[in-house]
Structures are given as structure tokens and as C-alpha cells.
């Protein structure tokens, strides 16, 4: 494994003033401009990247916060998702031990951020020689400016809405993975994030670009402590921008697993652009956080592309988990599949608002949606909402949505073979999530996910009988 150059430099440039908590929700515009400068210079970024951030900030300031009346927002409890930009503080280290989900074994490359700072970066030498890149985004911008300029902001993620624009302006933890044309990466690329242990906010930016006929599996795993981070009632906020670009005939398998602290409010703004005959699979595993809202857009603008968006979640307590998705077809003969499966206990609640949008140019599209919610407690609930907006006449679309308890027949079948109810329930719940969890391209991580989900749901839970 070859070591990358020191990932983050000149941290001493960060001003102490920026570390002080701001009392107001929104800093004055002038203060935000200074903040962008501080972040950019603290990460030793080239001028063009600082300018790019400023442009994003101007967009953000010109865009109102969501009113809460939009379809994509009206099911989100507003008091639980902070509207603040001041929290984009420079990375801080308070010496607390970082939380890991797991340590990858077989890997092509590894990047680890702790509290927003890159602490470890490694890349297998043969893949490095083959042109694979995995680096903190600021460092990549310095060392490979042409590449980063080509891909950064190539999707509409930085223009998604005010949060998306702020995410582009204010990120402090950046990840860039680049796969040159034709390179088939044999093992997964890992990006690990340990949540700031002092409970400060985190603005993260993930950029994955796979050139034509390349293939890569990228796994992001983010962890905070299993309980709360803060005791002052202020939710730690995480904003995660994800840009995925698969060029013609490229193949990206992207998996993101989060177990943020139980008091975290997490918002994801993700856009995947799928090229001609390209394939992309986006797996999302949500376990932690008080509120986890993921907005994921699949852009199928080229002929023959295929995208899968497969999410699972495990909710407990008062957790609120949202998947706001859009399968946007404007290219000919492309296909996409949304599959969200979740298990909910206590009084947790889930929302799936999934739009299939087919433009007039999207003839011969196949697009499917499945949303399935398993409720283990009477107080838990889910709203699966499939939306079809179709302007082409030669397409295949379907959607299925379900909310319900564990099947009494399944439990009876397993029990009829001598399996005790608690184990039977565990098997049914594990099986329910298996279709998505088993797609994660790392056995060790799958086992970790199983354990985390069982702990999260306190399986065996109360067995639901008729």
C-alpha cells in the first residue's frame, strides 16, 4: 500500500473565531463569505476551488430555505432538522477516541476522516500506478486540478436547493475517488468517517467519477457513538453531498452505511449521473441518527443506462427516516429500480417519497419502485408514497408499497420446525432486509451491519401475533 501525501495541511490558519458557536440560525452574509475563505484557506485549496465555493454560497443565499410546504418537505418535522450554516466550523479534534464501524480487510484503497480531518489514506500501489485516485477532495484539487474541475459539480447536487448549495460552499470533509477509463478495480474502495466526537456539525462532500468502461465499488461507512453526542439539546448536524458520475459503460457500486449518534440530524443530497450503457447501484443503509433524510436523484439522460437504488433502514425510539428519491429518465431505453426496505420499532417513523419522472425522450424506459415497511410495534408507522410522472408513451413502470407487521404465517412456518419465536422473528427480519444488505460487497461489513441492526431493533423484539 502506498501512502498518499499528507492529506490536510495548514490547519493552524483556521481562525479561533470560527470555532465559537454562533447564537443565530443564519450568520450574516458577510460572515459566511469570510467563513468560506477560512475553510478554503484552512484546507490549502487553489483559488479556483475557493471561487467555486463562493459561487455556491451566492446561490445558497439567493435560495430560500424550504418552506415546509413542498411535497418533499412537508412530512419532515421542521424542528428536528437545523437550518443553519454557521455550523460549518473547521474540523476540530478534541482528543476523544473516534468511533469506527469496522476495519476493512481486503481493500483497494482507504481514506479515513475523523472529526472532519483526514487521518489515514492508503492506495494499493498497482491500482495507483493504474491511475486510481482516492484522496481528500482539497488535496486532489491541488494535485489533479483538471480532473477535479471536470467532475466537481458535474451533477446538480450543488444546485439542489439551499442545503445543497450550502453543502458545496461549506464542506470541510471532502472525498474524491477517480477511476480512469478501462480500469476495473478488483476490491472495494473504502471511505470511513468518524463523527466529530465533540458533537460539532459535519459538512461532507463525496465525489466519485468513473470513466468509460471502468468499474469500481465504493463503500462509505460513517459512525458516531451508539448514544447521544450532546447534552445541551442541540442536535449535531451532518450534511452529506454525494456526486456520482458513471461515464459510458462504466460500473459504479456505491454503498453508504451510517450509524450516526442517536441525537444527530442527518441530511443527504445525492445525485448520480448514469452515462450511456453505464450501470450504477446505490445502496444506502441507515441505522443511526434522530432524523435521517436522504434525497437521492438518479439521472438517466443517456441511452441504455441502468441504475438501482436500494435502501434499508432500522428505526427505533422516535427516529424519523426519509427517502426522497427521483428516478429521472430522459434517455432512451434506460432502466432504474428503487427498492427501500425498512424495519421500524417503538414510535419510529419512515417516509418514502419516490418519484419516477420520464421525459418525452425517455421512450423504452423500464422503471420500478418497491417500498416495504415492516412494523414491529403498534406505535411505529410509515408513509410510502410512489409518484409517477410519465410523458413518454412506450414505457414500463410499476410501483408497490407496503406497510405491515411480521407475517404470522412466516413465524408459524419457522416455529413449526422447532425454531423458538424469538429466533424466528430474527430470521424473518434479517431475511426481510437481506435482499439489500447482501448486496454490500464486503462480507465483514455485512456482518457488522447485521449486528448493528439487531442491536438497533433490540431483536428479538416483541413478537407480533395475530
Amino acid at each position: 500500500m502506498a501512502r498518499l501525501a499528507s492529506p490536510v495541511r495548514k490547519r493552524d490558519r483556521m481562525s479561533e473565531a470560527a470555532l465559537a458557536p454562533a447564537p443565530v440560525q443564519d450568520l450574516p452574509a458577510a460572515r459566511l463569505v469570510d467563513l468560506v475563505d477560512e475553510i478554503s484557506s484552512g484546507l490549502d485549496e487553489p483559488t479556483w476551488l475557493r471561487d467555486w465555493r463562493h459561487a455556491a454560497l451566492r446561490r445558497a443565499l439567493d435560495t430560500p430555505w424550504p418552506s415546509g410546504k413542498e411535497e418533499e418537505w412537508r412530512r419532515t418535522p421542521p424542528e428536528r432538522l437545523p437550518r443553519r450554516a454557521e455550523s460549518a466550523l473547521p474540523p476540530s479534534s478534541n482528543g476523544a477516541a473516534p468511533t469506527h464501524l469496522f476495519a476493512p480487510r481486503d481493500r483497494a484503497a482507504l481514506l479515513h476522516h475523523v472529526g472532519g480531518r483526514a487521518v489515514n489514506a492508503a492506495l494499493r500501489s498497482d491500482l495507483e500506478a493504474g491511475g486510481l485516485l482516492l484522496a481528500p477532495l482539497s488535496q486532489a484539487a491541488r494535485e489533479h486540478p483538471a480532473l477535479v474541475q471536470r467532475w466537481l459539480g458535474s451533477t446538480h447536487a450543488p444546485a439542489f436547493d439551499r442545503y445543497g448549495a450550502l453543502g458545496a460552499a461549506l464542506w470541510t470533509q471532502g472525498m474524491f475517488c477517480y477511476v480512469p477509463a478501462g480500469l476495473q478495480v478488483d476490491h472495494s474502495v473504502f471511505h470511513l468517517t468518524s463523527q466529530p466526537a465533540d458533537g460539532s456539525d459535519l459538512w461532507a462532500y463525496t465525489l466519485v467519477a468513473a470513466e468509460r468502461e471502468s468499474a469500481v465499488s465504493v463503500i462509505e461507512a460513517a459512525a458516531g457513538p451508539a448514544d447521544d453526542l450532546r447534552d445541551d439539546g442541540r442536535a449535531p448536524f451532518v450534511h452529506h453531498t454525494v456526486e456520482l458520475a458513471a461515464e459510458d459503460a462504466a460500473n459504479i457500486q456505491f454503498a453508504t452505511v451510517q450509524r450516526w449518534s442517536q441525537d444527530t440530524a442527518a441530511l443527504t443530497t445525492a445525485v448520480a449521473a448514469i452515462g450511456r450503457d453505464a450501470q450504477l447501484r446505490y445502496n444506502s443503509v441507515s441505522i443511526g441518527a434522530d432524523l435521517d433524510k436522504q434525497r437521492i436523484d438518479l439521472e438517466l439522460a443517456q441511452p441504455g443506462g441502468h441504475a438501482d437504488l436500494h435502501g434499508v433502514f432500522a428505526g427505533r425510539g422516535h427516529q424519523h427516516i426519509e427517502h426522497i428519491t427521483r428516478q429521472h429518465h430522459s434517455g432512451l431505453n434506460a432502466s432504474s429500480e428503487l427498492l427501500v426496505r425498512g424495519v421500524l420499532t417503538d414510535e419510529s417513523h419512515a417516509v418514502q417519497y419516490g418519484v419516477i419522472r420520464i421525459d418525452p425522450g425517455g421512450q423504452k424506459t423500464s422503471a420500478f419502485q418497491t417500498m416495504r415497511n415492516l412494523l414491529l410495534d403498534a406505535g411505529a408507522g410509515a408513509d410510502p408514497i410512489p409518484i409517477l410522472e410519465i410523458e413518454a408513451d412506450d414505457v414500463k413502470c410499476s410501483h408497490a408499497a407496503a406497510v405491515g407487521p411480521v407475517s404470522a404465517d412466516q413465524l408459524f412456518y419457522l416455529q413449526s420446525r422447532g425454531i423458538p419465536p424469538a429466533i424466528a422473528e430474527r430470521m424473518v427480519v434479517r431475511g426481510f432486509l437481506a435482499e439489500v444488505v447482501d448486496e454490500i460487497a464486503d462480507q465483514h461489513l455485512r456482518e457488522v451491519i447485521d449486528e448493528l441492526i439487531e442491536a438497533q431493533l433490540q431483536i428479538p423484539h416483541t413478537v407480533v401475533s395475530e
Binding site: S407, A408, F412, Y413, S416, G418, V428, A434
Partner: protein, 260 residues
């Protein structure tokens, strides 16, 4: 006198306040094969599921005893571990749970301790071979996407692995072509021994050409109206259920007059 292996004693079963099984009694001794034959709606599947303890069915009279021990208060998993088995008419699919994981769990539960991997493998391969089931089969999810014949074979596979003392076979012959019926029947015969008993529940007599019953009972409207040897099945094949249904209606009418 020791208790019979399995006894159903004046059993009454209701579903949603409708009485389905009415004072049904039956005794199985070790080594015996009994067949319960009845037309659609006679209560065959209700009886099978009740014996195994499905929560949907309410027992409102009588008893079910395995080796003298009442099963009524036992949940399904304890009945299974005590030695009872139900081959389902419509086995439930459990997506995401592999057959091999399921079978190992079930075998471990039946014997009361974790079965060693090596022993599990050997036993599994042996029974798979007997039933002419490909090894890849156990990599699939439980009953998920199985054809009708595959589901029934999977039930017989479980029968062979779990070695229950009493096996209830609910319409195991339905939906099978002639070759599958032969293989499934051979599986039942291979399982059968002097130490266990089998209760075949069926609409048609054709499986009885392969699995010879010692006793045949005719189930009409939730009650056994006639019992006999294998010859009774042949009579059913010739005459159908109608003579028994007529007989039953006659009896009910008489009963009604008595109670009126």
C-alpha cells in the same frame, strides 16, 4: 397400558366463531400410517394446522396428546421439538432466509443443541441424494420462487432431516406430477419406521397407491364419518364422497330431531 403415540380426543376447532372440526377422535400407534380423506371444505387443513398449533385456530373442546402429554398449551415450536411435524399444503416462503441456514437452525432446535457443521453436512447430503435434490437447492431462500413440486420436496427434505415421531402430511400429493409424486412418496416411505407414525391428509387416493395406509378415515363436515382399512380408499375412488355426505346429512338430521 402405555399412552398411544398420538391421540386426538374429541377435538373441536373454531375459526372466527365458526365450528369447523367437531368432536374428532383418532389414535395413532407407532409404525402406523393413517389416511384422513375428505372433500374440499371438510376441515382437513384446519385439522392439520390446529394439530401444529397455528394461532389462527381456536380449540374449544377436546385434547391433542403426544405420548400422553397434552399439546394444547404448547406453542408450535415446542410441539415440533416434542416430535410433531407438519408438511404444509402451501409452504410459506421466507425471502432472505437461506434453506441451509433454516435447516441447520431447525435441526439444532429439534435435537436441543447446536448440530456440528460436519454432521449437518453429511446428513443433509444423504437426504438430498435420496430425494434427488440438487445441492444448489439449499442455497436458495426458503420456498421463495419454488415450483409446487420443489416446495413439496423441500417439505419431505425437512421430514427426513428432523425425524419427527408423528408426521402430518397435509395434501402433500397436490400439485405433483407423477414423477414428483413417486419421489415424494419414496421419501415418506424411507422416513417411515416402526418407531414413528404418519397421518396423511388428502383429497385424492392416488398417493395411497405409493404410501400404504393401515387405516383410512373419511372426514365430512369436520367429523370422521367412517373408518376402515385401505379398502375404504378404494371405495372412495369408485363412489366418491357423495354417499358419505348423504349419510352425514342423514345423521345430522336425526341428531337435529333428537335435540329439537
Amino acid at each position: 397400558m402405555t399412552a398411544p403415540l398420538f391421540a386426538i380426543d374429541a377435538l373441536r376447532v373454531a375459526v372466527d366463531d365458526i365450528q369447523i372440526v367437531k368432536d374428532l377422535s383418532l389414535t395413532l400407534q407407532p409404525g402406523e400410517v393413517h389416511a384422513i380423506m375428505g372433500p374440499n371444505g371438510s376441515g382437513k387443513s384446519t385439522l392439520a394446522n390446529t394439530l401444529m398449533g397455528h394461532p389462527r385456530y381456536t380449540v374449544n373442546g377436546g385434547d391433542i396428546r403426544l405420548k400422553g402429554q397434552s399439546l394444547l398449551e404448547l406453542p408450535p415450536d415446542e410441539r415440533a421439538r416434542a416430535g410433531l411435524f407438519l408438511a404444509f399444503q402451501y409452504p410459506t416462503d421466507v425471502p432472505g432466509v437461506s434453506m441451509i441456514n433454516f435447516l441447520r437452525r431447525a435441526m439444532s432446535a429439534r435435537r436441543g443443541e447446536e448440530i456440528p457443521v460436519r454432521e449437518f453436512r453429511q446428513t443433509l447430503n444423504q437426504v438430498l441424494g435420496e430425494l434427488q435434490i440438487d445441492e444448489q437447492f439449499v442455497r436458495r431462500y426458503v420456498n421463495d420462487g419454488f415450483s409446487g413440486g420443489e416446495k413439496k420436496r423441500a417439505e419431505i427434505l425437512q421430514l427426513g432431516l428432523l425425524q419427527p415421531e408423528v408426521a402430518i402430511m397435509d395434501e402433500t400429493d397436490s400439485g405433483l406430477d407423477i414423477d414428483a409424486l413417486r419421489i415424494v412418496s419414496e421419501g415418506i416411505n424411507a422416513f417411515h419406521s416402526e418407531g414413528n407414525a404418519i397421518l396423511l391428509i388428502t383429497h385424492y387416493q392416488r398417493i395411497l397407491h405409493y404410501v400404504q395406509p393401515d387405516h383410512v378415515h373419511v372426514l365430512i363436515d369436520g367429523a370422521i364419518v367412517e373408518s376402515g382399512d385401505a379398502g375404504l380408499a378404494e371405495r372412495l375412488e369408485k363412489d366418491g364422497y357423495e354417499p358419505f355426505q348423504t349419510l352425514n346429512q342423514e345423521r345430522s338430521r336425526q341428531k337435529g330431531l333428537v335435540t329439537a
